[in-house]
């Protein structure tokens, strides 16, 4: 069973994603521990318990947060996919890692996929960014856009083996530092 999150366009995510994910991982870790322990002791009270139901509702929330699955070029040992959330994180971090540029909102266009519930490989990425500028040295905007663009292309090629990504940079904000 898969929940299709494809009806809504790829969302921007929130500032709390990292923290929420960390809490979720901790919860899953402790749930694993408890269940394994109970099972070892021969206790089958974990059937449809409050904890099981809460695990279910947490995983529904996690699924909504992750978004759809995005197919990646397979490794030689098998296929893999990223969640839309993971892909966005990768792209945003690539931009935030450059000097003086901060990512605002990222949206991705995907290749068509025959599979319901997954998206094809990313083909085009549009990144809205903010640029820092000091009054003494105005930034050369096309150069900065290229810096951001190359950062995203490099990250996707290096991390995911996606070499032909088209990246649009939209400078939304020029703020003084």
């Amino acid at each position: 069973m898969a929940v299709s999150t494809m009806d809504a366009p790829s969302g921007p995510g929130g500032p709390d994603d990292r923290e929420i994910t960390r809490r979720y991982l901790d919860q899953i870790r402790s749930l694993h521990r408890d269940w394994d322990e109970l099972e070892q002791r021969g206790d089958d009270s974990v059937q449809l318990s409050r904890r099981a139901r809460s695990a279910l509702s947490e995983s529904v929330r996690a699924d909504a947060r992750h978004g759809a699955r995005v197919q990646m070029p397979p490794t030689d040992l098998g296929p893999y996919s990223l969640s839309e959330l993971a892909l966005r994180t990768l792209i945003r971090d690539a931009i935030d890692g450059t000097e003086g540029i901060a990512s605002l909102r990222t949206s991705v266009e995907y290749a068509p996929s025959p599979d319901w519930g997954t998206r094809g490989a990313p083909e085009r990425v549009a990144c809205r960014v903010a640029v820092a500028a000091s009054p003494r040295s105005l930034p050369v905007l096309p150069v900065l856009a290229d810096v951001a663009r190359e950062a995203v292309r490099d990250a996707c090629a290096r991390e995911l083996d996606l070499p032909d990504l088209v990246v649009d940079i939209h400078i939304e904000d020029l703020h003084e530092i």
């Binding site: 069973m1 929940v3 991982l25 870790r29 749930l31 694993h32 449809l48 992750h66 098998g78 296929p79």
Partner: protein, 110 residues
């Protein structure tokens, strides 16, 4: 008749091996494996095929694991290592040509 039968690893054991890989921050279940894990518990089908974040389907010849990665390795490298560990851990306890699918749910950039 073999005198040394190959023991099927439990899903808990397989998960422990995956989580031990540098580059893997943890198991991060999606709805699919969560439901299958709960279903297996309810039917008391044992823990050898389903656990949160890991599903071994011998009939469909497919293994699925859902993870959170950290930045110490490239995503692709970590994924490949996970697939390698799965293959070695499961060995001949799964049919030949079983697909090893990794779903990267999130990236913990530290």
């Amino acid at each position: 008749m073999r005198s040394d039968a190959i023991r099927k690893p439990t899903t808990a054991e397989v998960i422990a091996l995956v989580v031990a890989i540098p580059g893997v921050n943890g198991i991060e279940p999606g709805i699919g494996t969560t439901l299958r894990a709960l279903d297996a518990r309810i039917r008391r089908a044992g823990s050898d095929s389903s656990h949160f974040g890991l599903h071994i389907d011998r009939a469909e010849r497919k293994v699925t694991v859902e993870v959170c990665l950290d930045p110490s390795r490239s995503v692709r490298q970590s994924v490949r290592e996970i697939q390698s560990v799965l293959r070695n851990a499961l060995g001949s306890t799964v049919p030949d040509g079983t697909e090893l699918e990794v779903r990267v749910q999130s990236l913990d950039r530290g």
